[in-house]
């Protein structure tokens, strides 16, 4: 009985396959309740969209049109009418808790979700 089980068998692929499946499971299980992108202008919620879905949101900010793009899990302001374009220069954000602010346009773009800890000390 023991001697038969000393050599690798085809069935041994099953635990190996289960291991590989478990490794990939979080990609399928945990993306649904992932981060959301919130956009606020002058205190009003303009839009709320999942970070995982690519979209473009354009609306009128306090100083003129603004265009926000969600693609590949990143959010960025691609066009704005403010004088210094700080919001555009902020670039792409992806981490929960981070935000893009356009002060003249009174626009805030932020990512909602479970915030990662930078570090834990004990």
């Amino acid at each position: 009985m023991v001697s038969k089980r000393l050599k690798l068998r085809v069935w041994d692929g099953i635990p190996i396959a289960i291991g590989i499946i478990i490794a990939w499971a979080p990609l399928f299980l945990l993306t649904g309740d992932g981060e959301k992108v919130g956009i606020v202008c002058a205190g009003e919620i303009i839009a709320e969209t999942p970070l995982s879905r690519d979209t473009t949101i354009a609306f009128e900010s306090c100083v003129g049109p603004i265009r926000i793009e969600v693609s590949d899990g990143y959010v960025s302001v691609v066009e704005a009418s403010c004088p210094h374009k700080i919001c555009v220069k902020t670039g792409k954000i992806s981490r929960p808790g981070s935000a893009i602010i356009c002060a003249p346009g009174r626009v805030a773009v932020f990512i909602e979700g479970e915030t990662e800890n930078d570090a834990i000390t004990r």
Binding site: V2, R5, D12, I16, G19, E114, E116
Partner: protein, 173 residues
Amino acid sequence: MQSQDRNKRVAVLAILIALGAVLWALEEFIPRPIPWLKPGLANIATVIAIVVLGPWDGLPVAIGRVILGALILGRIGSAAFLMSISGAVVSAAVMGVLWRIKAPLSIYGISVSGALAHGLSQLGVAVLLVYTPFVLRFFLPLVSLPAIATGLLVGLLSVALIKRFPGNFIYGN
């Protein structure tokens, strides 16, 4: 004859617990890239106990070696100890059940299953202790992929050792 058999069992069990504890403690000194990645060589003792003594003898070996190992390293009762003991017990139970029901797996497959069960139960305890299910996203692949490799390694070493056991030493053979 009966008591002689029992004595032999007890002796083998004790040797395996000692072997497991020493391997477990020595493993702490192997440099490793990521702190929680251990080859799990101590599981060799559990695998051998299951194969040589019987499906349920992996449990005392697992519990014994973790307690003994923790005493050597002075970390009994710590979070790491809780993770170690849960991992060792769950993996011994999984491997024992697979051995008992005569799953069509070789020692390699059983060892991989044990390594996976070990890693996953440790992760489960870690999540319960710090309560951040969020970490699962990063840790599941980091736990289960190396578990396959270490499971195969432990399987290889266990097979090499079991082959060297005298035939009459193996129960139920």
